[in-house]
């Protein structure tokens, strides 16, 4: 079972299923549901960035929201100023990536590890939150675009077909864009993990000292992984700004970062497809909870999370994997252990 899971065929299978779902969904659901599913897909891109840097590179980043927010704000500010969206999308990927590069350099080359890194990343996201939150005054603007402080930036123009500012993406096209981006990123990451670089990154996560003694510069590899994670989160932020035509400082908040971590844990740390599912499940759940009146939303979500941790600690996908293993796995005799 594990052999299948790690082989390229499982990645191909997942991607195939993803493509089929993407093509089938618009035919079955109405407009509103499509828009809903789109935001789940966008958040899943964010989840996968955290899943990659945490599950595969061992970097506990408590502030992935920083890159998410940077992507959203970069897109918003540049598209309002430039009027055309192709460059802003690229900037929304590059700027968070650059910031991740700088922050990563700051942290990894200072030999910071685990919980201390978590605190620094958390603090950085709070610095963003507090700073952007105080920009409500009219003097805070970049070019034509006011930063808006707590109010955020409303009415953000949508992505248009390259070269044609009037021709913006309709909900269906945007859904395809997000979904295929997610599938492509998933495929790309799986490919990366199975490549030589990926093996080194995972080795560093398992035992950094051993990897260093074997001659690999752990800091450089971690920096690479962290930057990549930042780029992906930035793209998610760009799509998010598009989906709601809106962004605000709460995108940098502790609650947002904690949410991402919850998605990854629920889906299964150490897998890529798990956090995608975990993210969608929890997003859907919180939306449903908000439409009923009987119980307070926080109460319901809190109970679900606590029960989940106690009963399904590994997360959805690994637990499902265990279940499938028990049902279909090869029988091992006493002397043979995998």
């Amino acid at each position: 079972m594990t052999a299948f899971r790690d082989s390229p065929w499982s990645a191909v299978l997942v991607m195939l299923l993803g493509v089929m779902a993407t093509l089938a969904i618009p035919k079955w659901v109405d407009d509103f549901a499509l828009i809903q599913i789109t935001i789940y897909v966008v958040m899943a891109i964010l989840a996968i960035s955290q899943a990659f840097i945490w599950g595969f590179s061992g970097i506990l980043c408590f502030g992935q929201a920083s890159f998410f927010g940077l992507g959203a704000y970069t897109y918003a500010l540049s598209v309002i100023n430039m009027g055309e969206s192709t460059l802003p999308v690229l900037l929304a990927i590059a700027l968070p990536g650059l910031f991740a590069l700088l922050l990563g350099y700051f942290m990894f080359y200072g030999r910071l590890s685990d919980v201390y890194m978590g605190v620094i990343t958390l603090t950085v996201s709070l610095i963003f939150f507090n700073s952007v939150n105080s920009t409500a005054g009219p003097e805070w603007r970049i070019g034509n675009a006011p930063l808006g402080g707590f109010n955020g930036i409303p009415s953000i123009p949508s992505i248009n077909y390259p070269g044609n500012p009037e021709d913006t993406l309709d909900p269906l096209a945007f859904f395809y864009l997000s979904a295929f981006s997610l599938i492509a990123i998933y495929g790309g990451l799986r490919w990366l993990i199975s490549s030589r670089i990926g093996h080194v990154i995972v080795a560093i996560k398992e035992n950094e000292q051993r990897a260093t003694l074997l001659g690999f510069d752990a800091r450089a590899f971690k920096l690479f992984a962290f930057t990549l994670g930042g780029c992906i989160a930035g793209l998610a932020g760009c799509f998010f700004a598009n989906w709601g035509s809106f962004t605000s400082p709460t995108i940098f908040s502790l609650a947002q970062s904690a949410q991402i971590i919850v998605w990854v844990i629920v889906g299964g740390l150490g897998t890529l497809v798990g956090p995608i599912i975990g993210c969608m499940a929890i997003q859907w759940l919180t939306t449903q909870i908000g439409t009923q009146q009987t119980f307070n939303s926080n109460l319901v979500l809190g109970v679900i999370l606590v029960v989940f941790v106690l009963l399904v600690p590994k997360g959805i996908i690994p637990s499902l994997g265990d279940v499938l293993q028990k049902l279909f796995g090869k029988k091992v005799t006493k002397g043979e252990e995998a």
Binding site: F106, L112, V119, S131, S134, I265, G302, I304
Partner: protein
């Protein structure tokens, strides 16, 4: 001159506040390596306990200093029993569980008590330093923070229980061999940490708006202080609070409260970069 005095009082107050809100988390994280994301909610429960006790007629000081810690300490025992116990050594899972717990607490309090409750006003009154007024309560908090540090030191250093707790944290297997039950020690330590958080909540009830979501404003700073302090509970918390409180309040005076917060955060980032193991990873090493 007056201004200098008022600034010093405010700085000491900021440091004292940080000490008070971080003490509980320092015990739980420092001794058990449990990341308790529900720390802010323990504070909130302590604040509500103090309020209800005061409204029921108990003297406000007793409500804050006795009732609040006891209530939240008991709650901590229950939480440890039901949830944390199963998750020792699994940092990731404790994060998720305590985050769920924090949502649960907020939801529960909102449903049961609602979000408009009358609070308690600050006891005692105020005095003047030149043209400025300072409330007596501010000075009281400063004194309490100092006493708290001494109390923790005394318990850990000079009591049997403190010794047992420290020993169990260092080497649970050894403690078990020597006849001490590690599970009981963990349970009591978690309860003590919770009680300290409850105390903090009770003490802060008169000076902040007590609403079910008040925990959110404290948790980030508490975490940054505790982890910035490093592995020693006492020296770490004290030194980190002193450093961050000073920077925060000075920056607030010079600019605005927001940039005061940002200054605190930037200081934390820079400091952690220079001292990757926290303050007590380098200075006061090996102390309590």
């Amino acid at each position: 001159m007056d201004l200098a005095l008022i600034v010093s009082v405010q700085v000491l107050y900021a440091v004292a506040t940080l000490v008070i809100i971080s003490a509980g988390l320092a015990v739980i994280f420092g001794m058990m390596r449990v990341i308790n994301l529900a720390h802010g909610e323990f504070l909130m429960l302590g604040a509500y306990s103090a309020i209800f006790a005061t409204k029921a007629g108990i003297n406000i000081w007793i409500a804050m200093l006795v009732v609040a810690p006891i209530c939240v300490g008991l709650f901590g025992i229950v939480v440890e029993r039901l949830i944390i116990r199963h998750l020792y050594g699994r940092m990731v899972d404790t994060m998720l569980a305590t985050w769920g717990l924090s949502l649960l607490c907020v939801g529960l309090v909102t449903s049961l008590i609602g979000n408009t409750t009358s609070g308690v006003s600050t006891p005692e009154g105020n005095f003047s330093i030149g043209a400025y007024s300072v409330s007596f309560y501010t000075s009281a908090l400063i004194v309490i923070a100092v006493l708290l540090l001494f109390a923790i030191r005394w318990v850990l250093r000079s009591t049997d229980w403190g010794l047992i707790a420290r020993g169990t944290m260092q080497n649970p297997a050894m403690a078990d061999v020597l006849g001490i039950s590690p599970t009981r020690v963990y349970s009591i330590t978690f309860a003590v940490g919770a009680a300290l958080s409850g105390l903090a909540g009770g003490l802060l009830a008169p000076v902040s708006g007590v609403v079910p979501t008040m925990g959110a404003s404290f948790i980030a700073k508490a975490f940054i202080t505790v982890i910035g302090g490093g592995s020693s509970i006492l020296a770490g918390t004290a030194s980190a609070s002193a450093l961050f409180g000073l920077i925060n309040q000075l920056a607030t005076f010079i600019t605005t409260p927001v940039f005061g917060e940002v200054a605190l955060f930037i200081a934390a980032v820079v400091m952690l970069r220079m001292l990757p193991q926290g303050i007590t990873g380098r200075f006061f090493k090996g102390s309590l």
